[in-house]
């Protein structure tokens, strides 16, 4: 049975890529005439595809670098189309003219980056959609809590606004050998209590995440995958060695995302409930008031190791309703409103003293198509669905331009992004033709979408289903389910439990292709809807090599 499946899969893979080459070449030729009427990127899309696809995939030389393998993996995924590639979600903020601030790609809001533009910009209030799930910096993994925790806690490494790795509590980091990396801990750093930061605190903080007997069952443990533990290498040199189970190409990217440093003696002398309601970090702000589920207030920490923060106080509160967040901004009660949905944008823009700031986020929105069920077991059919979706129209009309089209799982600017791949163009004729060739003409498909989990998820799913339904030989509909229902189906580890076609979003804070492709598309991925031996091989090869950026 398993053998049959494998051989069938191999066969489909082979025919799929051959047909794709033909199909894409045909499309580029046929589209040349009216291509001029579409916008510029579309035009280059066609050109790019023609040149890249005329070469047979088998003729490509084997990549030599990790980046090369990941780019090849992205190409394979683009061609095989296990997803309907949708868009990169934008983070949209409303902000007051009292402050100067640029949002970050990773969706985290650091008050340290805010500067007052007027006198009243010295005390800044931010309204986000929900409050923290406790103040323990190592016992969460979601943006609302990140935003609260990162004001007071810092890691060894951090990211700048564009996502590049920068040093914070580490002054140096290097690989000693395949299974060891070393951090040098910054000197003259003090915690908010006045205690000095020691290498021992750093080693303890790492172990608290990865070793349950040291700390807690931290949800961040998968973020530091392969990290076995840390120990102080030299107190004089302030070095900490981190032991890995094997070569981990993205170990520094991981440390730049999660691993806040805590004060060892403070953690050991307090219980979990206390640690969840108090903060003892080294960050630019210290906690001044915490009302659980209501608000968190910070004040500037004057003994900060770097330049002091530009604003005196920073308050974070929450309102689940987007309109309430915008109300607070417009009425001047709040200076930053997080997650302004498209329908509220004009209210912010038309109001005196507030404006909209948008930045591409680290989240990609897609529709997974299970490779093992009809009709999605045909790569031709999956490509057809991609051609049937008018992505530009969805981004313009449903998202009011707050999104950008994607044609691969990896986002632009991430390690492993393939710049030669462009989004599938909207071509319903091609789609109908591919459906015929796939042998699944007359198929009925249903797209499952969560309700309200991602920006306009239901509307996007309905638009996708309606556009696919427009094809003469496919009928499609959208079905809404509660997010937790979908989660319980996609996280079981069995592909059979998943719906055949579902909308999902994926945030990847490591800025590395592997953290998207591995869990979602590799045969052994925890959430996978796909299996392809060549893809698995490319990923394996990529994980044998260090990233050049390290």
């Amino acid at each position: 049975m398993a053998d049959q499946n494998t051989s069938r899969r191999r066969f489909l893979t082979a025919t799929g890529s051959a047909a794709a080459a033909v199909a894409l070449a045909g499309c580029a030729g046929g589209d040349g005439g009216d291509g001029t009427e579409t916008d510029e990127p579309m035009d280059t899309t066609e050109g790019g595809m023609e040149t890249t696809e005329t070469a047979e995939p088998t003729e490509r030389p084997e990549p030599t670098t990790r980046e090369g393998y990941l780019q090849r993996a992205n190409r394979l995924i683009h061609d095989e189309a296990p997803w309907v590639f949708l868009h990169r979600q934008f983070s949209v903020y409303g902000q007051s003219d009292d402050i100067e601030w640029q949002p970050r790609t990773d969706e985290r809001v650091a008050a340290y980056a805010i500067e007052p533009a007027t006198d009243s910009g010295d005390d800044v209030v931010m309204t986000q959609s929900q409050m923290d799930s406790g103040l323990d910096p190592q016992d969460h993994r979601e943006t609302p809590t990140d935003n609260i925790v990162l004001q007071a806690y810092e890691g060894l490494l951090e990211r700048d606004a564009e996502g590049a790795i920068v040093e914070t509590l580490a002054t140096d980091y290097q690989r000693l050998d395949e299974t060891t990396v070393q951090f040098t801990v910054r000197d003259n750093v003090s915690f908010h209590s006045g205690d000095s930061l020691t290498p021992e605190d750093v080693a303890f903080s790492i172990n608290r995440i990865v070793q349950e007997d040291v700390g807690i069952a931290s949800p961040q443990v998968d973020q530091l995958l392969g990290v076995e533990g840390a120990e102080v290498a030299s107190t004089d040199d302030r070095t900490v060695n981190v032991n890995l189970s094997g070569l981990n190409p993205i170990v520094f990217a991981s440390f730049a995302t999660y691993c806040d440093v805590m004060n060892k003696s403070w953690v050991e002398s307090n219980d979990g409930a206390y640690i969840n309601q108090n903060m003892e970090g080294t960050g630019p702000f210290q906690l001044s008031n915490y009302e659980q589920g209501v608000s968190v207030e910070f004040q500037r920490f004057n003994d900060y190791w770097d330049d002091e923060a530009a604003i005196s106080t920073f308050t974070i509160n929450a309102a689940g309703e987007a309109s309430t967040r915008v109300n607070r901004l417009v009425a001047g009660e709040s200076d930053i409103a997080v997650n302004v949905p498209p329908q509220e944008v004009s209210r912010v823009e038309n109001n005196d003293g507030t404006s909209i700031t948008a930045v591409p986020s680290t989240r990609v929105i897609f529709n997974a198509m299970r490779y093992d069920v009809e009709p999605f077991d045909s790569p031709l059919f999956r490509q057809a669905i991609n051609y049937a979706v008018d992505l530009e129209s969805i981004i313009e009309n449903v998202l009011q331009t707050f999104g950008s089209a994607t044609g691969q799982p990896t986002l632009e600017g991430f390690f492993g992004y393939n710049p030669d791949l462009d989004p599938y163009p909207y071509d319903p004729d091609m789609a109908e033709q591919l459906v015929e060739e796939s042998g699944y003409a007359g198929a009925e498909v249903e797209l499952v979408t969560p309700i309200g989990r991602y920006l306009r998820d239901v509307e996007i799913a309905q638009a996708v289903a309606a556009q696919v339904d427009e094809l003469s030989n496919v009928s499609a509909s959208a079905r809404q389910v509660e997010f937790s229902t979908l989660v319980s189906q996609v996280t079981t580890g069995n592909i059979e439990d998943k719906p055949p076609w579902y909308l999902l979003g994926w945030g990847n804070a490591t800025f590395d292709a592997i953290q998207t492709i591995q869990p979602l598309l590799a045969s052994d991925g925890s959430l996978t809807s796909y299996s392809n031996d060549e893809l698995d091989r490319l990923l394996d090869e990529a994980q044998q090599l260090p990233s050049e950026t390290n």
């Binding site: 929900q130 923290d132 799930s133 406790g134 323990d136 016992d139 993994r141 979601e142 349950e212 807690i216 069952a217 949800p219 443990v221 998968d222 973020q223 979990g272 409930a273 969840n276 309601q277 009302e291 659980q292 589920g293 209501v294 509160n317 929450a318 309102a319 689940g320 309703e321 309109s323 309430t324 109300n327 607070r328 417009v330 009425a331 001047g332 009660e333 509660e482 997010f483 937790s484 229902t485 989660v487 319980s488 996609v490 996280t491 580890g493 994926w506 869990p519 925890s526 959430l527």
Partner: protein
């Protein structure tokens, strides 16, 4: 003796109610899709991580074991810990309770202050313009959805006119009292407290006002046609005394019942109003707990609300006895 037995009976009933609530929530766990682990663990968490979190939260046990464990803990006064924040459920729930109580009491005050005069006017000037105005108002109040009214009040009075804050709770009643002696200027604190309470109280109180206005009107009309009214008038009592000492007092018996019971509904049913105003009370907490599958918090909230209902019922019965001595005789 009779009163003690009455209280005892009610106490036992209350325990029964709480037990029922806990049991219903546990049964709901069966049929609710999604697990708290999905909220705690990231989407791509490995099965091992999920297992570890399940063990830490005690979710790896069969449901009946969890149920019995929970009941045993509850008997010792422990409502468990939040799955999300690890804070004791009792702490988290009782932190939120004052905001909700404050809102419910304020809404009731609004309702009583408006509805009784409106109802009396309406009944004593039956079929006059004042009556029509009052009945139209109550019809409008009953048929206006809470959330819509809330949103409109915010748009007009907070966003456009900037008279009240748009949402949230600036200070609590306790903080306001503390400001009398505390370092913060009392007047500023009290104003901010009342301002943030005003729109939510109006929103929540409107339906209630309309309901009681109707109740007072029909009750009063009913009483006015009773024989004793004619007797008191014949006795030469001034009309105001007839109306307010005799008729209104008798009318208030059903009003107090409804008021007490509605106060219970207000505590548990302020969910929508709290959501519109981002009011940090039990309603907001319940929504959050349901979305996050944070069962200990949901159970804790429902236990507190259940207890509230029971206590209010007892209080209503006691008041009933005071207003209508015949109740005691029965």
């Amino acid at each position: 003796m009779g009163y003690g037995r009455f209280l005892l009976k009610r106490g036992v009933q209350g325990v029964g109610v709480v037990w029922g609530v806990v049991t219903v929530v546990f049964v709901l766990r069966f049929i609710t899709p999604g697990s708290p682990i999905d909220t705690v663990a990231p989407l791509d968490a490995s099965q091992e991580t999920r297992q570890r979190i399940a063990e830490e939260l005690g979710l790896d046990q069969p449901l009946y074991v969890q149920y019995l464990d929970y009941l045993a803990e509850l008997l010792q006064g422990n409502m468990g810990y939040s799955y999300i924040s690890s804070i004791p459920a009792s702490v988290q729930v009782f932190q939120k309770l004052p905001a909700t109580l404050e809102l419910a009491v304020a809404a009731s005050l609004v309702a009583v202050a408006l509805s009784i005069p409106l109802g009396v006017i309406s009944a004593t000037r039956r079929h006059e313009p004042a009556d029509y105005a009052a009945t139209s108002f109550s019809l409008l109040g009953i048929s206006t959805p809470n959330f819509w009214l809330g949103i409109m009040l915010v748009l007009v009075f907070a966003v456009e006119l900037n008279v009240f804050p748009t949402s949230g709770r600036a200070y609590g009643f306790g903080q306001t009292l503390a400001a009398i002696t505390g370092p913060e200027p009392f007047f500023t604190v009290a104003t901010a407290w009342l301002a943030s309470l005003f729109l939510p109280a109006i929103t929540l109180g409107t339906y209630f006002t309309a309901l009681i206005t109707r109740l007072v009107r029909s009750g009063m009309l009913d009483e006015l046609s009773q024989g004793y009214v004619r007797a008191t008038r014949a006795k030469g009592l001034p009309e105001t005394l007839v109306r307010y000492k005799h008729v209104l007092r008798n009318t208030l018996v059903p009003v107090v019942t409804v008021l007490g019971l509605q106060l219970g509904t207000l505590i548990g049913g302020a969910v929508i109003t709290e959501a519109v105003f981002a009011w940090p009370g039990l309603g907001t907490e319940i929504i959050r707990a349901i979305n996050a599958r944070d069962w200990p918090i949901l159970q804790g909230s429902l236990i507190v609300i259940g207890c509230g209902f029971v206590l209010l019922n007892i209080a209503v019965d006691a008041l009933y006895a005071y207003l209508d001595p015949r109740v005691v005789a029965e």
